[in-house]
Amino acid sequence: MTDERTEDTADGTTAESAATDTVADAADPTLVVEDLVVAFGDLVAVDDVSFTVAPGTVTCLVGPNGSGKTTLIRAVADLVGIDHGSVERPESATRPVGYLPQAPAFRPQFTVAETLQFYADLTGESVDVDAAVNRVGLGGVPDRRVDALSGGMTRLLGIAQATVGDPPLVLLDEPSSGLDPMMTRHVADVITDLAADAAVLVTSHDLTAVERIADQVLVLDRGRIVAADSPAKLQASTGTDDLESAMSELVASESGQVATRDAEVDG
């Protein structure tokens, strides 16, 4: 029962206030989420979540399968309706939010460069497609058809697409899912580069990469933020040596069991 769950973190502050405070030192956060609730019928996928994401930082959403990560990031992208609360996104930019879905896919009849050019044209701004392709490491295959790309390359194309038009907020849903270690490392480097120009919100199960790139980690369990801090502080507060152990500690102490949830809610 959600009522019985506490939001207190290890140091006694509430997780939500910690989420808001961790990166809220910046004067103007790029993203402000307050008291967000998203439900599908009786199933509450995101339950009273608040946090901010500051410009130039990487915030990672972690948690068990079914914890609500994908629903939360889709709500931030305005792709699902919210039942309560608010999401304040950037308004001044031509394209306020860049988004990489969990399973990016593109029209197979087009090449890498043509696909990015289409999205660039939608922004109405002049976009250096070659630079966007090179940025994610697809500079060697701009003329390759999308249906001839590997899964990893398609994901890189998805990341390039998410940055077209220089959105101030970039949302990446499991950008390294299913990738080999080298590609995973490359994606992590790309995300770090993105944070030079934007606020980045990432969902991930790759806690090693999260530990390396995250300025702020939001631990989600059954739709609620149960901890929010930098990787180092989360480890310190749980007395663990790595983020994986810290998350296990936090989620286990919250739920006492492995969370299960409909894959549609958070695949």
Binding site: D78, L79, R95, Y99, A105, R107, Q109, F110, L122, T123
Partner: protein
């Protein structure tokens, strides 16, 4: 960027997709061959007989081709998950749906026009006086009648494509889109007219209402407009057809209604 420019970006993508889809190219070629086959089989020797020979096949073939060109246009993006990505860009539902429609229409119309153009060519270059049921009305046979028929067929094609795009926006899966498309084609070709006939024979409607009610079906409306504008009084109609006003209103309602459904269903605003 203006709505019109965004719509053109989307339209270009749709048109290129059609050009690079072999199945579509085969269907387009098949359409031209089948229409040509009808013309050759009928041995048409005049524009007016050509119109009368083609109006019934067009009622069936145009919706079939339009649905083949459009029933997956938006649904394939949704199925792939790309529609959600597109939503994060600064474009409205109207621009997107309008672009999809225009791009697909840009690919579809040339196919219809080529088929009709070749049919007209058969009349021009066929030697001798072919016999036709209306050949004795030779004084009214003129290319302008055929041009009217072509114009009405272009409008009918646009309406059929609009319905197909609405299906592609409303369906939740490729299978569902195919199922709805098949049902709608059957309804357009047979269902509406059959229902009206059944209602007439059952006494639910009177003969006076036929002219208006048949306009509710885009196929009947198209047929009625062809008979009114391209055939005229030289042909004695065996069944009531919609008036000019009712037929025009019927096609307009289907066109606007279908695109309205597509805009409303493509994604949540």
């Amino acid at each position: 960027m203006s709505r019109a420019r965004t719509a053109l970006v989307v339209a270009q993508r749709e048109f290129t997709t059609l050009l690079r889809t072999p199945t579509i190219l085969v269907l387009a070629l098949g359409f031209v061959v089948v229409v040509g086959g009808f013309v050759l089989a009928a041995g048409t020797g005049g524009y007016l007989p050509l119109v009368l020979d083609l109006v019934a096949p067009m009622e069936i073939l145009v919706p079939l081709l339009a649905f083949a060109f459009g029933y997956r246009a938006i649904q394939s993006d949704a199925d792939r998950g790309e529609l959600e990505t597109i939503q994060t860009y600064p474009l409205s539902r109207l621009s997107f749906v309008g672009g999809v429609f225009l791009g697909r229409l840009a690919g579809l119309l040339p196919v219809v026009l080529v088929a009709l153009g070749l049919s007209a060519g058969a009349v021009v270059f066929t030697p001798g006086d072919a016999v036709s049921v209306v050949v004795r009305h030779g004084t009214v046979d003129a290319p302008v009648l055929f041009l009217r028929f072509v114009t009405l067929t272009v409008l009918f094609t646009a309406v059929a494509l609009a319905v197909a795009v609405a299906v592609s926006a409303a369906a939740r899966s490729g299978r569902e889109a195919l199922a709805i498309a098949v049902v709608l084609v059957i309804a357009l070709v047979l269902g509406f007219d059959a229902t009206i006939v059944a209602a007439l024979s059952g006494g639910l409607i009177g003969p006076d209402a036929l002219g208006t009610l048949t306009a509710l079906s885009p196929n009947s409306a198209y047929r009625g407009l062809v008979y009114t504008l391209a055939v005229g009084d030289v042909y004695t109609r065996s069944a009531p057809t919609p008036s000019l006003l009712a037929g025009t209103a019927g096609l307009t309602l289907w066109f606007v209604g279908a695109l309205g459904v597509a805009v409303a269903r493509v994604w949540r605003e």
